[in-house]
Symmetry: D2
Subunit: 359 residues, 4 copies
Amino acid sequence: MSAPASEHSDGRPAVRPVRLGLAGLGRIGRLHAEHLAGRTPAAELVRVVDVDEAVARDVSTRLGVEWSTSFGDLLDDVDIEGVVIATPTPLHAAMIEQAAAGGKHVFCEKPLAFDLDASHNAVEAARSAPVVLQVGFHRRFDPDWATAAARIHTGQLGDVYLFRTSLRDMAPPPISYVRDSGGLFVDVTIHDLDTARWLVGEIDEVSAFGAARSDPFFAKLGDVDNAIVALRFANGALGVIDETRAAGYGYECSTEVVGSRATVRIGDHRRHHDVWLTPGSASVDWVTDFTERFREAYLLELEEFAAAIREGRQPHVTGEDALSAFVLARACEQSFRERRTIALRREERVGRVIYEAVA
Amino acid sequence: MSAPASEHSDGRPAVRPVRLGLAGLGRIGRLHAEHLAGRTPAAELVRVVDVDEAVARDVSTRLGVEWSTSFGDLLDDVDIEGVVIATPTPLHAAMIEQAAAGGKHVFCEKPLAFDLDASHNAVEAARSAPVVLQVGFHRRFDPDWATAAARIHTGQLGDVYLFRTSLRDMAPPPISYVRDSGGLFVDVTIHDLDTARWLVGEIDEVSAFGAARSDPFFAKLGDVDNAIVALRFANGALGVIDETRAAGYGYECSTEVVGSRATVRIGDHRRHHDVWLTPGSASVDWVTDFTERFREAYLLELEEFAAAIREGRQPHVTGEDALSAFVLARACEQSFRERRTIALRREERVGRVIYEAVA
Amino acid sequence: MSAPASEHSDGRPAVRPVRLGLAGLGRIGRLHAEHLAGRTPAAELVRVVDVDEAVARDVSTRLGVEWSTSFGDLLDDVDIEGVVIATPTPLHAAMIEQAAAGGKHVFCEKPLAFDLDASHNAVEAARSAPVVLQVGFHRRFDPDWATAAARIHTGQLGDVYLFRTSLRDMAPPPISYVRDSGGLFVDVTIHDLDTARWLVGEIDEVSAFGAARSDPFFAKLGDVDNAIVALRFANGALGVIDETRAAGYGYECSTEVVGSRATVRIGDHRRHHDVWLTPGSASVDWVTDFTERFREAYLLELEEFAAAIREGRQPHVTGEDALSAFVLARACEQSFRERRTIALRREERVGRVIYEAVA
Amino acid sequence: MSAPASEHSDGRPAVRPVRLGLAGLGRIGRLHAEHLAGRTPAAELVRVVDVDEAVARDVSTRLGVEWSTSFGDLLDDVDIEGVVIATPTPLHAAMIEQAAAGGKHVFCEKPLAFDLDASHNAVEAARSAPVVLQVGFHRRFDPDWATAAARIHTGQLGDVYLFRTSLRDMAPPPISYVRDSGGLFVDVTIHDLDTARWLVGEIDEVSAFGAARSDPFFAKLGDVDNAIVALRFANGALGVIDETRAAGYGYECSTEVVGSRATVRIGDHRRHHDVWLTPGSASVDWVTDFTERFREAYLLELEEFAAAIREGRQPHVTGEDALSAFVLARACEQSFRERRTIALRREERVGRVIYEAVA
């Protein structure tokens, strides 16, 4: 009988969970906090921060972790190795820089900022610290997309000809959210642009088309709730993204990559495996929400963050990836406004791809 | 015991099958001939015509119908009520005009011509004769698309937000076919443009993107084998078409229309209903060919032609529809060449929609 | 220009459709008549017979074929090569014997009779005439089952371990039908027993369990509307059949064969390929009726009959098969009544398998 | 900034995880240990026990929990509220009694024992202590089955007519496992019998059929590797279980309940949601293992155990359920041996259903 052994019977040392703090207890912040507190063996939640004390206390009580109303408390805690930033976007860049300065690794929700310079600076701060900087492109960790990516990257599809992806929310978010979202392309399309780069490769041209259909406030804000984006990849493949914020039937994120030898397709968002047979009809429940569809991906991205910290390496999706997707999303916005195709150029700087829209 | 009764026991008169001739015994012509000879109760094949006598004789023998090498023989046969034209496209328009002049109803494969004026003249000839003129947009008769159309047109989807369709051939046709095909947009996209108009409505703008990937001859011919087309409908909906001539896995024609209340999606091109389970895998056979996928639609379009003749009405898909889809297909071609969005205007002339690209 | 060529351009003689008569214009008889009149190129319907003159006249008018109220008229018609018998079961055996005596080939709906001796005599009459005798086990011609059978018979499954099949009607037939049906095992299970023999092989033991649940008249008639039958095959495999006459959701006929290396499964009875997405649900239409599910099989079994006649061979499913399935169905009935497993023995007589229940 | 709040901001007290020990670090024991150590917020693993010290130390190191080679250490630990027993079956009953005597709640893998009296005594010990006694019928916690159960129990199916379930392993376990497994019916069928009782209700008769096919050792041991069991439920429904230990294609556990108004069906064991399209084929990966299929159920049954302890109530699946399924499994064994249907009677004792085979 004994306390936890500090090494395996063959002498390998034991590994302890990474200790993390979390700032921002909105919807996604609370989800991450719950995961870190009880469902991610590789990571452990030490403290949560929110400017609203009642919120911070409640989460603290429920999850059995410390709380605070100040981000500085996370940075001062020598026990904390990394921070998860789920605060509103305008706060991201400064918090990344503070964390980097304090030697804390950073997991940050996307986008890094609404401003290109701020995004660059945040990435640079993490890079020079150096600390791990991972962004919340959760789709990269979903087992379906990961399987597809492995098939594509090992050449099982042959030459890639077409990339196609659909992103649909069941109902638009409230106007308060939309107003501060950066617009559909920066808020939503950014995920699909990251997926496109990851699965197929770098992008040379984007052509975006949009429409405001579901609620009059979209038009008032100059935003759209439906969009089509055509892509031309550097390797010659074509791509297309379709999106709506108001697909009445539910949530969907489907992707297909067509190759010369094989094609991979991700869809089928049933909630359970039950088929329900009623007179003349067979039906399955369909997911209504991204947290439901990507529950496992949200866990796995946090495990990846912990693993990157523990192994002293960059995560599978980096600040540079966030920057690339952000530039591409803004090029979509520009294409839509100016009703023309926007070309992009890339520069390899210190081993990193830096995108820029061609004027 | 008696010969076939010429009227029902309640005195309604019996209806006899429509008698048809068929010209052009290439792949699709032979398919139509076989259907008319034995699988379409409403129509009966009297005579087949092909310039190659051996081909005409063989089909004649196999199907037990008369044969000829001259289209004039069909027109001269007073017993024949209508003709099915499956000859090469350059012959279509003149044959339609001859048939119309001879008072024969016409079913013609698409497109009516590669030339806009010739197309107009053919439609006008049928119109003024008047004879029935139906074009071979078989998809309109497939039970899956017909069911979807009924749901859309009765308002079950609510407002339509997005239209999405994929068209994929397993392998490119030979260069000899491609050279005379009119190019991808006129040869292939035309079907999807007709589907878009039928399901969602008239189209205001097209933006086409193409790539030549599978075989070097596409580039040599200035043609493409992969394409994306973004559509803006007059009712505000967005649409997207993706196409490839070289989807290694098989044939596919999938369509989806997303509405505010419901969405309809057509896909799942399994050949049988068998699931084949082998270690770690469940698979179904996938169709490899459009005749396999649309076998029933090819029968039903001929039954519609017979019904339109017998009932003295226009068919569900007309010469004007062919003209509209042709103008749209050429606008896609122009959009691709000029790298810009092409706007379209429509004029209502004598109750018909006439499309025109805005210069 | 010429009349139908009587030979191919290479001199092969032309083949003309087999000329058939049909007796019995109930539901299935009318279906066969419609198929023969316009959808089976290999066969042609000459005359229909029904004791009800109005019914015979109406079908005659609609299909453009001769009519009569007497079966003798079919037999006297020298132009007719074979007859399709879709009259009530008690008439089958005598009509088969008459047809055989008249040298007419016979397609007969199952069962051949409710009486074992009568069944034997009918089969013997066809055999000694000799004429083709095919029974209406349509499932053998469905492309799904035919594909499965090919996989099993070519050894792709390895050793067969389990056979499983479900047969479900949406609602029970009227009491008038059930009263004269011969009971569930003889009326319905007989199809599944034929499928079991065809796919897996001969059967050594049956154990049947039944229940009357949906309507009180089943219990009053001493019949059941739900059943389970366990099978032990001669090759060591186990099998199970489940059946209900009142599966509220629709019609279903699903089969699965589990082997050591692979498994084949037939199911998925969607009516169209459309998926209909409404809030939180994805649904497909489900077939409600066996004629809908087996439309193609009903065509193909008639084409097989015509081919067997034309090629002078036995069809793929014979009178002996009908006899075997009938003995097995009666053994199920006995097993259910006596609450015990019934063993069967087989005798090979003149190359044919003859089943018999062990006392 | 503060330590974990001991109450919510509104004064509700915080709830801390249940502290558990675990005995038996075989395959399923290690799985439970990993879950308890990092994936079940409601429970916390304090100590693991295995007779093999190296195994205990390694798991201890990996999971950061204490270890021991003696079950007594768990019982002596005042900090531990409950124990998870995953040792070999012959040890279960005595360990349950010891735990109950020590006031520890018990989660025990099935079966409770190979002996009926020992099973009874273990249940009685837990009952009189009283401590929570939950058995490892994990399927009850799978969201698919839980959804089906909810639909059945709220009457959405109408009258239940048929129950059907398939259980298939990809390959037989080693002979060493089979020899001590208690035979197919007690080792495997017991799960399906529990599911049958849960979903449809109590069982009056079982009729079992078996065969040894995949490996000669099954016959040598007098065991079977394939089985069919027909059930007659007290409410009049029929049921059927099919099982094989050697379904080459993978693992499967599918269930269907057919009712008069609707039917629920659980199947589709794809590993991911990816469809992989290769020439002429669409395939999905299929699960090969029960831990893969029931990963979530294994988590949820532990959360239920923790919740039952914290809430001072019986769990959703009890020792009495284990006892019932065990009696039914032994009746299947008897039915197979004696080649006859075995009837069962039930006695309600102190509010519990106690099953007994009718001699």
